[in-house]
């Protein structure tokens, strides 16, 4: 004998409400990590705050499309990067022409030639490169390269996650990552070595 329909409905509704609460809690636990990535994808704290709020509003509305047990941080970042592209924030920030970046040893060689090989030692690096200069250099990289550097080197996402978040092939993630890191070092060299 099956139960009367209202009881089944009530149980289904209660179960769904519980899943939603669980989803929301899990998503909110990731807010700080989501913000950290967002902050480096856009130009200002205000933009980052807006973007994170829009992301959570959309995530909470579409919680049913999240598959429990999959990588929620990547899922949230995918929403966030899509919103960021939609809002055209990155376009405003794109410089018209970007010269080709220098090679991988460029910054190290510049530091070494201005202050000797010892300038490459850990304590000296921290002394010579300010945290501000790093933040500025990062903001200066072309967005398509910066997005990948921010996701992988700051957000700790794997190549595969970054590929999924940005909807680009993994090979493109790797080549943009390599170029982005070189561009970052070039900017740092320009900023910190007169």
């Amino acid at each position: 004998m099956s139960e009367p329909e209202p009881a089944v409905d009530a149980r289904r509704i209660a179960a769904e409400a519980r899943s939603r609460v669980r989803f929301e809690e899990e998503a909110l636990e990731l807010a700080d990590q989501v913000y950290r990535v967002a902050r480096r994808l856009v130009g200002s704290r205000e933009e980052a705050e807006d973007l994170v709020q829009e992301t959570y509003a959309r995530a909470f509305r579409s919680w049913r499309s999240y598959t429990p047990g999959t990588n929620m941080r990547a899922w949230l970042l995918r929403i966030l990067t899509n919103l960021n592209v939609d809002r055209g924030r990155r376009i405003q920030r794109t410089p018209p022409i970007q010269p080709l970046e220098e090679s991988d040893y460029y910054l190290a060689n510049k530091l070494a030639s201005s202050a000797g090989e010892a300038a490459l030692d850990q304590e000296q690096v921290v002394e010579r490169l300010s945290q501000d200069s790093i933040v500025h250099a990062l903001a200066d990289i072309q967005p398509q390269f910066r997005d990948v550097v921010v996701l992988v080197d700051i957000g700790d996402f794997s190549y595969a996650d970054a590929a999924e978040i940005l909807d680009i092939p993994m090979g493109t993630v790797m080549s943009r990552l390599h170029r982005g890191r070189r561009a970052l070092k070039q900017k740092l060299a320009e900023e910190t070595i007169a």
């Binding site: 950290r36 705050e49 509003a57 490169l129």
Partner: protein
């Protein structure tokens, strides 16, 4: 055939070396060169330091108040 500059080759392998995405053959190639080359070793170590430092410098905590705003969004539901 011209011999390639081994340091230039080592430079090429650096990012993948630190990302641990080299093939075994390339890995051995880099390790062998690094074992005998102070110049490249210093640059690899510099890159490691730089990566850690970039991560540290880029980390900015969520502004106070944002969490409360996100909490307020709870319960938003397209079906509601």
């Amino acid at each position: 055939m011209t011999e390639r500059d081994p340091c230039e080759r080592c430079e090429e392998l650096m990012q993948d070396f630190l990302d641990r995405t080299l093939t075994d053959v390339e890995w051995r190639e880099a390790e062998t060169h690094l074992a005998g080359c102070d110049y490249c070793r210093r640059r690899y170590r510099f890159e490691e330091t730089l990566r850690r430092y970039v991560k540290l410098s880029a980390a900015e905590r969520m502004p106070p108040g944002l969490m409360a705003k996100l909490e307020e969004l709870r319960g938003l539901d397209a079906m509601a």
